[in-house]
Subunit: 279 residues, 3 copies
């Protein structure tokens, strides 16, 4: 039998000791725990981004992995600490919606409220439940303790809305979910939604600082893209992104904020997206 790895996803960043302390707590309870960092680079309190990262990453991890998710703006309030089994995975984190997308994707959730303080560190601080509640519970779960002993069944959990495309008279209003390290802009538009729109007369527009950029190229790879021109691509996570070959689209388009306006329209007179043949 192979132990369940504990996968860490937090907004702690890398300057402080917080992520390291989680590892210390886990190792103190289960010295043989396998700990994997998903990322600690979620921007502070960015539940949407964390939810998205979790959803697009989960299936690449071993079955029975325990995801320890600490993006927790409500720490210290009455929001519940949760353990959820869904699909073949375990998710531990606050009941603030950050777990809802992945749990919905996995299906058949069994939700537990973590309310057995004998399995927490003592005393429990009001500012760092990752250390005092979530990490000790994850470690005990990785030792084989059943969820039923760690908490009490709970009928439902809070939902997080990932913003969906908004239909308008002209087309769809979109938004940027996040900008990745390479400066690619990941949009709230799935490959499937996009396929319904990718037709003659359909064009993506994005409001830059001083001008509107119109994007009319779809490429199957970065390498096939033209130079010095923004293009659309289905990212590896299944969402549409705006990219520029060998450059940061964020910088190329001279954006100043994630809040910029983006829309997809199917107006007469626009040319079709030229779609290459993929590979």
């Amino acid at each position: 039998m192979t132990a369940s790895p504990i996968v860490l996803l937090t907004d702690f960043g890398y300057r402080d000791e917080y992520a390291g302390v989680l590892k210390g707590v886990i190792s103190s309870i289960n010295p043989h725990a396998q700990i994997l960092d998903l990322t600690h680079g979620i921007l502070p309190q960015d539940l949407v981004r964390a939810s998205f990262v979790l959803t697009s990453s989960v299936s690449y991890f071993p079955r029975s992995s325990i995801f320890l998710v600490v993006v927790d703006p409500g720490v210290g309030t009455s929001r519940k600490p949760l353990l959820v089994k869904a699909g073949e995975y375990f998710f531990i984190g606050p009941d603030n919606g950050v777990l809802s997308s992945v749990v919905e994707q996995m299906g058949h959730p069994r939700i537990f409220e973590l309310n057995h303080p004998e399995y927490f560190l003592s005393p429990v601080s009001s500012t760092f439940h990752g250390r005092d509640i979530f990490a000790p519970v994850a470690a005990r779960l990785s030792l084989g303790m059943p969820p039923e002993e760690l908490g009490t069944p709970c009928p439902k959990m809070k939902s997080l809305e990932i913003p969906r495309p908004v239909k308008t008279d002209q087309g769809l209003d979109l938004c940027i979910l996040f900008v990745d390290t390479f400066g690619n802009l990941i949009l709230n538009l799935t490959a499937e939604q996009f396929s319904q729109w990718k037709q003659p007369g359909c064009c993506m527009s994005i409001q830059g600082k001083n001008q509107i950029h119109k994007i009319s190229t779809v490429c199957s790879t970065y390498a096939k893209a033209p130079d010095n021109e923004p293009f659309l691509l289905i990212s590896s996570s299944g969402y549409v992104e705006i990219a520029v070959k060998n450059q940061s689209a964020w910088k190329f388009l001279d954006l100043e904020s994630l809040e910029t306006r983006i829309w997809l329209e199917a107006s007469p007179g626009n040319e079709a997206f030229p779609v290459d043949q993929g590979d």
Copy 2:
């Protein structure tokens, strides 16, 4: 029997290969070593910050953990390389004070100077003792080699002064120990010291770029804090911090430097701190 994990704390950052190379050296000597990153995000040569991180984190790690601390502005000089056993932990690093607070906290130190070059990499460079001296010694210690074989007893070690609050006629002059990822300002004031001052007529002041901010709210959690107003909180490490709910206090207070003036005063006419009831 469970092996001792090796816990890494450095100012190497994440852009370079230095932290990775430590892991290579350790794994080359002890392929089964469990290596945990505390953080590599200490600002270059910031001994006070590293000392603080170590002190506030140590007790969350398993007994017999080996802390490998490489914040080493004097590398290549005659400062001694040390191995210290204190409490149930081992600390390896330069004799520049970075280990003194944690060793004092743990008590009953046994200090060894690392002067057996047969246990170092050869040749020893003058710029990277983390790789050439400290990592190989940590790996051998994790294999069970006793400290007595790795070094020679040493009567004392250098002390680092964490700046203490300074009493003035009006109250206490304080300073910022560090700013965490969330923009919270951690002060050189412990919960215990603060409890002696938290009384009617007591107020925290901080010099911003253009104005003095007076802080008169103490909250037990971030969530209970008012919006758009700085407040005081006992951080999870036991020190007082200045925070702003869902914002960076650093940015909110428009600070430009860690060197800004902060003081706590108990002058007549100031209102008492409203302290909520905690949870």
Copy 3:
């Protein structure tokens, strides 16, 4: 028998989940894999820097380590995915030159093209071969599968040119290979090349924003260096670097770009480099 660790070197940064997903894929195939992060902080698509990091780090890792190198601007094109055995190490990555220096240094390479899709994830995306091709192959190799089963022998691989010093009438034209976390400038000049030039009348010059800085001090350690003055030092990797004691040379010299002009000249009238005695 000890398993081979898998050593990760990428330009994924730490904000996104990409590096974490590699670990998930590896652990899904080999739950006992030991995964070591070399760094994920290579700047996007910086093949020279990645190549340099690999070359200067490899010998500190255990024999039979598997280096998984994902700096891959040509992902999705026809560039081959490779597995190379050289020296006692394995290297997995794209055939874009990033592996060539380390393979040349190790010698006696056996090169395989990874063309057995049954060992990849399915489907293979066009944007993330690190996840879909390289990580699964690394995991299988760490399980003991022989390279011959994972790919087909391949006669040669692409070479990356690390820029070499250029001889001029006056001396050598150099360039900055990279700037490390501490702000030290690592030059494309090896200790050996430098030893041939370190003689009376030899001086390093670097073009700052508003002035040319002449550097005439060589130190064997940072600590022995004078204050507030740039100096030369042989870095721990064997290359010459420009440093300033307890400061960032990058900031001290007021540089704005890596593309600045640097040259070493042996003109009459310049004083010899004062070289201290080392330790």
